[in-house]
Assembly symmetry: C2
Homo-oligomer: 251 residues x 2
């Protein structure tokens, strides 16, 4: 059993730095906090480097921590590595597992420059629930291992396939796999209800303010919009993605 009492311990400093994208990129690690997320992480132990537990709390009896590296710490240490005001007493250091090569897939969600962490996490959670097989995160997006993104995925981050890459290249590869590509656009699209549900599709949604970039919209088979019956200009991107993935999947 390992324990760390001092906030000045170099390992503690390393954990703390994982709240920055730079350190996450450098190490290939990320940090999750709270009992719910650590429990979700434990369902996929291969993701976990170590679980950090505060002296003040006990490991829940439901957790299977066989073969998991546990580090006990003083509450001060937990506070130092937490980005919440009142840390719960449990955290985990996990290995990143994004893909960089496109596998053979039938149902894909492509994301162009989603910037709000809550939106990105909610979209990943929704895609997983809807039976989407892969989320592709293009350039200009918030980091998927940002702690607010992870919280919003509600644990889906630990087992759901995510690819980071160039959207233009991914679209070209999906076309070779004969996957129909649907963009979303308020300007030059057709109502989504005019599209048939399908066993194979790629849906692309875009940035909160600007939508999907024109260069990508030009590569699609069709661009869709969700009709607005009120005075609002648009829907929240996570809500729009939810409506479309459930519709297109025939669900």
């Amino acid at each position: 059993m390992k324990r760390i009492d001092s906030v000045k311990n170099p390992q503690v400093k390393g954990w703390k730095k994982l709240h920055t994208k730079k350190e996450r990129d450098k190490t290939g690690l990320f940090i999750v906090e709270g009992f719910h997320l650590v429990e979700e992480a434990l369902k996929h132990k291969e993701n976990i480097k170590e679980v950090i537990i505060s002296d003040e709390v006990e490991i829940p009896s439901a957790w299977n921590v066989d073969d998991v590296s546990i580090v006990w710490v003083k509450p001060d240490v937990m506070k130092a590595i937490s980005d919440t005001e009142t840390p719960q007493g449990a955290a985990a250091i996990c290995y990143q597992s994004v893909m960089t090569e496109l596998p053979s897939v039938q149902k894909v969600l492509l994301l162009d420059a989603i910037q709000d962490p809550g939106n990105l996490g909610t979209i990943i959670r929704t895609a997983e629930a809807a039976g989407i097989e892969l989320v592709v995160i293009g350039e200009g997006s918030v980091d998927v291992y940002n702690s607010k993104v992870i919280r919003s995925t509600q644990g889906a981050i630990f087992h759901f396939p995510i690819l980071k890459g160039n959207l233009g290249e991914v679209i070209a590869q999906l076309k070779e796999q004969n996957v129909a590509i649907y963009g979303t656009s308020l300007q030059n699209g057709k109502p989504y209800q005019e599209v048939q549900t399908a066993s194979s599709f790629a849906l692309m949604v875009g940035n909160e303010g600007n939508g999907v970039r024109e260069e990508f919209l030009q590569q699609t088979d069709a661009n869709l919009y969700i009709p607005i019956y009120g005075k609002s200009e648009s829907l929240n991107v996570a809500v729009a993605a939810g409506i479309l993935v459930y519709y297109l999947g025939g669900r």
Copy 2:
């Protein structure tokens, strides 16, 4: 033209207090911040008590501020009344306009104890866009005039009908109007796709952790769920509401 230079001015103190629910309840007012929201508010001038502008900025030429009471303030005053780190220089004090009596309606969304401000605001924005006529906010919900709720509505708060009331009573009244009532429940429901789309319906969604209260689920015509095809336990409530209102409305 009115101007206020001192953060100690009693009116400034009053504006600042509008960030608390207690003061909003007492005065029947609420405060909105930022150019986008003030512009949306100006589309419904009857809602506006006064618009507050910082010395440092100019009133955008596109704004119609005829007959609107404008108060110019020093940047320090704007900072004092803002709940954001970097205030934009424009704010407005608005009259609350929630209803307490149920009008005759065909499409209604009922909310049981939604607690996250972002979720509540996004649900109102989505309902307005989907052609829902009224959102009913039951007991135990976050205050609809909380500033994060208002931001998430993206302006829909200024013109969309909202009723605050007891959900049990509202359900009983809707039944008298022959509106079909659909609850949502992960346990004892049927897949939403088994319900016919309709020109008249009331959909009820509930608290992020606990869903709709059992006492209300027992009053419905049917309880629906959205099938989960992945490992997630549930969808975000704003996403779920979006999928269901677009489906039920035949849209």
